[in-house]
Amino acid sequence: MLATDQYLMVGVVLFGIGVIGFLTRRNVIVLLMCIELMINGAGLAFVSFCRQTGSLEGQVFVLFAMVIAAVEIAVALSIVLLVFRNRATLDVDEMEVLKW
C-alpha cells in the first residue's frame, strides 16, 4: 500500500492551484471552477486521512461537501446568468456597483 502522504500532497497542490486561479483569473465562471478545485483538494485530504486512520467520518464529510458544492454552484451560476443579463459582463473587476 502506498503511503497516504503522497495523496495528501496531490490534494494540497490541487487546492493551491485553485487558490492561485481564484486570485488571478478574471472570468467569474473560472473562479467558480477554481472553488471546485479547492473543494476537491480538501476532499482528497479528507479521504487520505480516512484511509490512514481507518475511520469513515472523512468520507461522510466529503459526501456532504459534494452536496454543498452542487447547491452552491446551482445558485451561483444562476446569479452569474442574472448579472450577465443585466450588465453583459463576466469580468469580476467590472462587477463594482457595490463599491463606493
Binding site: 486521512f49 486512520t53 459582463t89
Partner: protein
C-alpha cells in the same frame, strides 16, 4: 503497479487542474476540470473509497459540470479570452498570497501526516455503500436531513432567481 497508477492519476489531476486556470477558452477550462475531477475520482477509488469515487463521477462530472457547460454554451462572451488574468498589480498580489498560502498548507500537512505514521488495516467492505450508509443513517442522520432541506432551499432559490419575468 499501484505506484504507477497513482502517478498517472496524480499527474493527470495536477496537469488538468493547471490547465483549468491557464486555458484561454472557458470551454477548455470546463473540459480540463472534468478530467481533473475524474482523476480525483480515480484516486478516491485507490484510497478504498469506491462509493465516493462513483458519487464523484455522478455528482461532479454528471451534474455540476453540466451546469457549467450549459452556462458556457449559452453565454457568448469573448472578452476574457484575450485578457484572462486580472490586470497588473492585482495579478501579482494574488499570486503572492496564493503561493504563501500553499507553502503554509504544505507545512501543516507535513506536520499532520507525520503524527500517525502507520496506515490502518481496513475491513474488506471499507467505504462500500453498505458501510457508508450505516454511518450516514445512524450517526449522521440529522446532517443528512438538513442537507436535504438545503437542497430544497437551493431548488426554490434557483427557480426564483432564473424564473423572474420582466
Amino acid at each position: 503497479m499501484e505506484n504507477l497508477f497513482f502517478y498517472i492519476a496524480a499527474i493527470l489531476a495536477v496537469a488538468s487542474a493547471g490547465s483549468v486556470i491557464l486555458q484561454r477558452k472557458v470551454m477548455y477550462s470546463v473540459l480540463s476540470l472534468i478530467v481533473a475531477l475524474l482523476a480525483v475520482a480515480w484516486m478516491y477509488a485507490m484510497l478504498s473509497a469506491p462509493f465516493l469515487a462513483v458519487v464523484q463521477v455522478i455528482l461532479y462530472a454528471g451534474a455540476i459540470m453540466v451546469l457549467f457547460l450549459f452556462v458556457v454554451m449559452m453565454l457568448k462572451y469573448e472578452k476574457t479570452e484575450i485578457q484572462r488574468f486580472r490586470p497588473g498589480l492585482l495579478w501579482c498580489m494574488g499570486l503572492l498570497v496564493a503561493v504563501f498560502f500553499l507553502m503554509k498548507l504544505i507545512y501543516v500537512i507535513n506536520r499532520a501526516s507525520s503524527l500517525t505514521p502507520q496506515v490502518a488495516t481496513l475491513p474488506p467492505d471499507f467505504g462500500s455503500i453498505k458501510s457508508l450508509g450505516g454511518v450516514l443513517y445512524t450517526q449522521y442522520l440529522l446532517p443528512v436531513e438538513l442537507t436535504g432541506i438545503l437542497l430544497l432551499v437551493a431548488v426554490v432559490g434557483v427557480a426564483l432567481l432564473s424564473g423572474i419575468k420582466k
